[in-house]
Amino acid sequence: MHYLGVDVGSVSTDLVMMDENLNVTEKIYLRTKGNPIKAIQDGFKILKNKYHKGDIAAAGTTGSGRAIAASIIGADAAKNEITAHATAALETHKNVRTIIEIGGQDSKIILLNNGIISDFAMNTVCAAGTGSFLDRQAERLDINIEEFGEYALRATSSVRIAGRCAVFAESDMIHKQQLGYNQPEIIRGLCDALVRNYLNNIAKGKAIFPKVLFQGGVAANRGMKASFENALGFEIFVPEHYNMMGAIGAAIMAKFAVEKSGKTNFRGFELADKNIFSRSMECEGCSNSCEVVKIFENNNIIGYFGDRCGKWCNKLQHTSKDLLA
């Protein structure tokens, strides 16, 4: 039996399969490219050849696209990414106290005490210093994103970059470039700036205790890890499946959900070949004028989103129940 976890994020869609002992047996990393439904289907196409519907004991979703993903795959749990990340981290590192998570658009800090989340924070009005920004800088400097962090390690000194805002950080980097600093120094300066920004804004007012785990796509960047260690003064750990932690957490939470409910809602891998699309409409039921999104599967409606009064979402429960039966 396997547990399936799906993390539909802004930049990437990750799928993991875990066996009964919660070992990761399958890892699929896909770019969301603005089309989460297609990304999930692409992932399912890969899994379809190896697994059957009956192999899946539970399925869970997380990430900003968790609701849509849950309705199309028939998930047993659809939880926010903060809880998912903490769940996954606790599975491998029981004594973790702090989780630094930097993804495509979000950065978060999660503080734990005896295995319970005691506090968290997430970037609020700005996404400076997240994966998308680093991606863009790597592209601009014509450096492969995988090697970006290595450049920072090669630097002998750091240049001060104004990292508070992504737009100004970029223009400051260009300015330093024109002054003749070399690439490694600038990249190290950027890593330092982003870490400074993270600690000053996201982690402000929170005490960071070791053991610290560094998760999310940006954890691949060794320059960022080094800058964090430099700023905090102690070692931080990057877990093995650092960029899949959300999906792993989702799979674990789905396992718990099925243990409670006794059966899974998973709808099978045939989803990969189905024609799934969404249409939106403005509900004219009241003055709220909600924008309601309908999800279709081969012309059957399998989900509704976006209504405030529940007029449409309540229909969904019946429809999805009928479909699942």
Binding site: S64, K79, N80, E81, I82, T83, D106, N114, I116, I117, S118, D119, F120, M122, T124, V125, G205, K206, C286, S287, N288, S289, R308, C309, G310
Partner: protein, 365 residues
């Protein structure tokens, strides 16, 4: 005169009762929407807070419906709210609208005579006699208090209800029906009926739902559009919520403040962390957090518009309270961005956190 006023939570219901009673023509601006925000962001200063932008949108909609006089609460306090009326007057003028502004301010700032003159500007438009005018005012206050009471009960009962969604539906229905009335007496009658219904709701008192206090800047916690309808969402999650800052609280607070007997409990609880008033509702925010913790709430959510000075100060103080009292507080900053998914994620994670804390605390006994 055709009067209008900015949208702010339930104030429109009380304003309706007042203007109906006085017999003055009025326009209720449509509920805050994306269009309001678009108009407001286009014309307002870039760095101004969210309420200002929404208000500009409200005005434009009301002007399109023929309003010529704007009634607004004022403040000469240290926060930017004190500049609202002046900025808004200039802004509307530069857009080509010549509006009358009537700013209702504390007498300590503008003097009793000036306040009387401003109120007279409104009341002189009414053809009713003095007793009828006073009655209209009293009825409007009654409507305001009743609406806030119903809202408070519905938010608190939401965690205890047996049939999911009943409280939320009752509240929505109540507001809808009240708005359809054409005088204060029938409004009061309808609201009393709903109050009865709410009090006879099937509740499970053995349930022990999460209890969250909503604290922060008054506009953003009262106007649901600006806070992504957070209270409705908490009701959906089966969480009981409580918010002490309401329009009726504001009226009572303003009336009692010259005697300094307003919000005694809040000020007492806040004193240790924020000994002086810094404008806005910073003292209330801090005081509420401490009070909620003492009253056995599980956590508090602070909502503030980006750049709000008093709330930034309280945001910086809240982690200390959180640590001292072992009381989780989450701050949500709202701005003219439409990032609802992010807010829902934070809210869900916060509720998860509180639930797990509870389980853990209970497993220890």
């Amino acid at each position: 005169m055709k009067a209008t006023f900015p949208q702010m939570g339930n104030i429109y219901i009380a304003a309706k009762a007042l203007f109906e009673g006085l017999g003055i023509e009025y326009v209720i601006p449509p509920k805050c929407s994306k269009t309001d925000l678009d108009i407001g962001s286009l014309h307002s200063p870039e760095e101004i807070c969210l309420p200002f932008k929404l208000m500009i949108g409200n005005y434009i909609h009301a002007i399109e419906k023929g309003a010529d006089t704007i009634i607004l609460a004022g403040s000469c306090g240290p926060c930017r709210f004190g500049e609202y009326c002046e900025l808004q007057m200039n802004l509307l003028k530069s857009m080509g609208y010549n509006m009358n502004f009537i700013v209702i301010d504390y007498p300590k700032d503008i003097g009793m005579m000036e306040l009387y003159r401003r109120i007279h500007k409104i009341s002189s438009e009414s053809k009713k006699n003095t007793i009828q005018k006073i009655n209209a005012l009293l009825n409007a206050l009654k409507v305001l208090n009743l609406m806030d009471e119903i809202e408070e009960t519905a938010h608190m009962y939401a965690g205890f209800e047996r049939n999911k969604g009943e409280c939320k539906n009752l509240l929505i229905e109540c507001k809808k029906d009240t708005l359809e009335c054409d005088n204060a007496y029938s409004m009061i009658k309808i609201m009393n009926q709903y109050n009865q219904k709410l009090n006879h709701l099937s509740v499970d008192i053995n349930k022990n739902p999460l209890k969250i206090a909503i604290i922060g800047e008054i506009y953003t916690i009262i106007e649901p559009y600006s806070n992504f309808y957070i209270e409705e969402k908490l009701m959906d999650y089966g969480v009981s919520s409580s918010r002490k800052l309401t329009p009726s609280w504001w009226v009572k607070n303003a009336a009692l403040s010259p005697l300094k007997i307003n919000s005694l409990k809040i000020r007492k609880n806040a004193k240790k962390y924020i000994p002086i008033g810094i404008g806005g509702h910073a003292v209330e925010c801090i005081g509420e957090a401490v009070t909620a913790s003492k009253n056995g709430f599980d956590g508090a959510i602070q909502i503030l518009p980006m750049g709000c000075m008093p709330e930034i100060v309280s945001k910086a103080v809240l982690p200390t309270i959180s640590k001292d009292l072992d009381f989780p507080v989450m701050s949500l900053i709202v701005d003219d961005m439409d990032g609802e998914a992010g807010y829902i994620t934070r809210m869900e994670a916060f509720i998860d956190l509180l639930e797990r804390r509870r389980k853990n605390a209970l497993s220890g006994c």
